[in-house]
Symmetry: C2
Subunit: 425 residues, 2 copies
């Protein structure tokens, strides 16, 4: 591409959505919205520009180093949010006394991360967030997973195609205590384990060492995350704990929602954000576990961390990039537009008839693309046959003289007649 061409590209890592891209995005957003509403979540939003302070209050993992931060003309420290959860915590804290908890809220939020560009990675993405705040019951986790599964179903993805891996930081914490590893090290261990599969195990060992965890413990931590079943973990602990009981209860509740088959215990799931405290989960394409389709878990301290009162919550994030890749790989993604009608006319003197016909159809709620100038039949039908239209009406002198239109069904290659709507306005 020439230099001139280059200068028409979006900024590096940012996406343009041409109409065909937008159709896929809308399909995904609509599935998210429909599923969230069916499960009783209410939509909220906030501005993509957030105070840098709020984003930093919650502690120092990688995501904080990747923030797009800047100052406004008054010297305020602002940022493009890397995730929505700190903003949600801010909004809930602001109306702590006015809101009727538990709340179930969802949003579709654009989020930014400045990171090295790799395949499938962008510097911005849209993330569907579900959050339930103020509810202790494991039903909160179950409803969140059922809602995400519902969205997958609406997108035509079968339950057998996705595996939801579930574990619990509380359980892992119990196991680390059993190993007599100091609680102060647990957070660093979670973040290191989360990198498994993304970087070599030696680098994880190095990372653990950097954080003051002795070499010998690193080996024992690797043994822990190879524990294959919840039963084996309970055995390791020497008996059931509240953290293991909660997982058992979740699996039993999920069977009530008909999605127990999608879910499996996987102790290596910990998530990459500091704020999770309880059950955590990540969903993968069952055929090839590369990047997570969605993930989340229970966080108890985030509201407190940003300066509010403590409150338990369960959250999930589901990005648009991985699911779009999955849908594209699945079906070659033949996104059809809804039924659209093309209308055109041969000569200037039929423009009033074309406008009257277009307006008649639009008042019925149809989607109509009317050619804005007279077109030869060949030019009109080339456009109508090309652009995702299901119906076409072409108006010449004959149609106006007889007051009869022919409506062509482009899919079935049939034709029906209708009277020309009145042009007298």
């Amino acid at each position: 591409m020439t230099d001139t061409g280059q200068s028409f590209q979006p900024p590096r890592g940012m996406r343009d959505f041409y109409p065909e891209d937008m159709m896929l995005r809308e399909k995904i957003f609509n599935a998210w919205k429909t599923a969230a509403r069916r499960y009783g979540f209410e939509q909220y939003d906030s501005c993509v520009v957030e105070s840098l302070d709020i984003l930093k209050r919650k502690g120092g993992e990688e995501i904080v180093r990747q923030i797009y931060a800047f100052q406004d003309k008054s010297g305020r420290d602002l940022a493009l949010r890397p995730e929505m959860t700190p903003t949600l915590a801010r909004m809930l804290s602001a109306r702590r006394n006015a809101l009727a908890f538990p709340i179930k809220w969802f949003c579709i939020a654009q989020c930014f991360r400045y990171e090295r560009m790799t395949k499938g990675r962008k510097r911005e993405h849209y993330q569907w967030n579900l959050d339930i705040a103020g509810e202790e019951s494991v039903c909160a986790e179950a409803e969140t997973l059922a809602t995400a599964a519902c969205a997958l179903g609406l997108l035509g993805i079968d339950k057998t195609e996705v595996a939801i891996h579930v574990s619990s930081r509380a359980l892992l914490s119990d196991l680390l205590e059993k190993l007599q590893i100091d609680r102060a090290h647990h957070a660093a261990i979670y973040l290191a384990i989360d990198k498994r599969g993304k970087i070599p195990d030696e680098e994880i060992t190095a990372l653990l060492k950097e954080n003051g965890i002795p070499d010998g413990d690193a080996g024992r931590i690797f043994d822990l995350i190879r524990i294959p079943t919840l039963e084996a973990a309970v055995e390791y602990l020497g008996g059931a704990t509240p953290s293991s009981d909660r997982l058992v209860e979740l699996f039993s509740t999920l069977s009530r929602y008909g999605i127990a088959d999608m879910v499996k215990f996987d102790i290596s799931v910990v998530r990459g954000l500091n704020y999770y405290t309880g059950i955590v989960f990540e969903a993968y394409d069952a055929a090839q576990s590369s990047r997570a389709i969605f993930g989340g878990g229970r966080y108890d301290n985030l509201l407190q961390d940003i300066g509010g009162e403590a409150m338990t919550a369960v959250g999930m994030g589901f990005g648009d990039v991985v699911i779009a890749d999955l849908l594209a790989a699945k079906s070659g993604m033949a996104i059809k537009s809804d039924s659209r009608t093309a209308i055109g006319c041969m000569e200037e003197s039929q423009m009033p008839a074309a406008i009257a016909t277009a307006e008649f159809f639009r008042q019925q709620g149809k989607e109509v693309d009317m050619a804005l100038r007279p077109l030869k039949p060949k030019a009109f039908f080339a456009r109508a046959g090309n652009g995702g239209f299901t119906e076409a009406v072409y108006i010449g002198p004959d149609e106006v003289a007889k007051g009869i239109l022919r409506v062509k069904n482009l899919l079935e290659r049939t034709e029906r007649q209708m009277p020309l709507p009145s042009c007298d306005r």
Copy 2:
């Protein structure tokens, strides 16, 4: 509010959307989308972060001084877009040879301006943009106005409530030439006239003087923009011109769309952006002409200005803030949520029945909020009667024993019975 409370507010000039705010926003966005699709516009989008270069290439009016600009970690000059049109011009230029023109595209874009805070002004807003590119015919202006009028109708705003003021920069240019005012001054004159009603006339005179326009000419310019009718303008010019003919043709075409009554000639409408070259328009609440509800016009040189090939286009911008105020003033804005069902149970042992019932309704596409833990009847019905629910199902031991549920219609205060869906999963 205490200091702690303050720190939970969004950044200055940015908005949080709590669920009740979001319902109004979604109502507006849905009207915009529905109208655009009925009129054959296809949706596109791009990232809110744009190259500063693209935004600046199009020339130097006020909006450029109000850009939120920043650098990424590689030193790239980026910005939060203040408007969508330069980005559209970039996207069209990038695919100039692949796209089938004319194109009719729409988007709903968040835009940022750093400006002094006044009533109703925010530093960000969402703007619905309609653009038709590559079509000379005045039908492009007519379809754009008809689409905007359709959105107003979908929002329950009657045609008599909104006045669309229409003029033409080409006509004004002809009039200024008649006054022998140098073409080089025209752009500065348009921007000064656009400030009429926002700042006192003396300041406008001062602004004109600053731009090298003699005092005497300022008076004659004020006379021009008092010309009351298109006929009077034509008389002033000593006969019809292509610019006046085009306005006559637009008014005649709009009568075909049934919206001629909404439209009136108003020579003082020029718009505040440099790139308009032809017909321009602004719509106001007919009862109180304060801030424009929507505005736009024809621009011939923008693609060229950002480095592409020239192409004529018509565009419209319609913000979410003024229309939301108008809707709120109109009706006290009783936004109802769609029909939602509340489900709850008395004791833990009825939770499986509650889940089975919730899932049964959801599979029918209903929106269901299920209480995530057992609730006393009083607590359940207090919540169900409060939160915009139309139906409620409360399950106690009796319902489970008999296998019969009572579905209460909360609006009509009626009740129907249905069998308890199977809990065996």
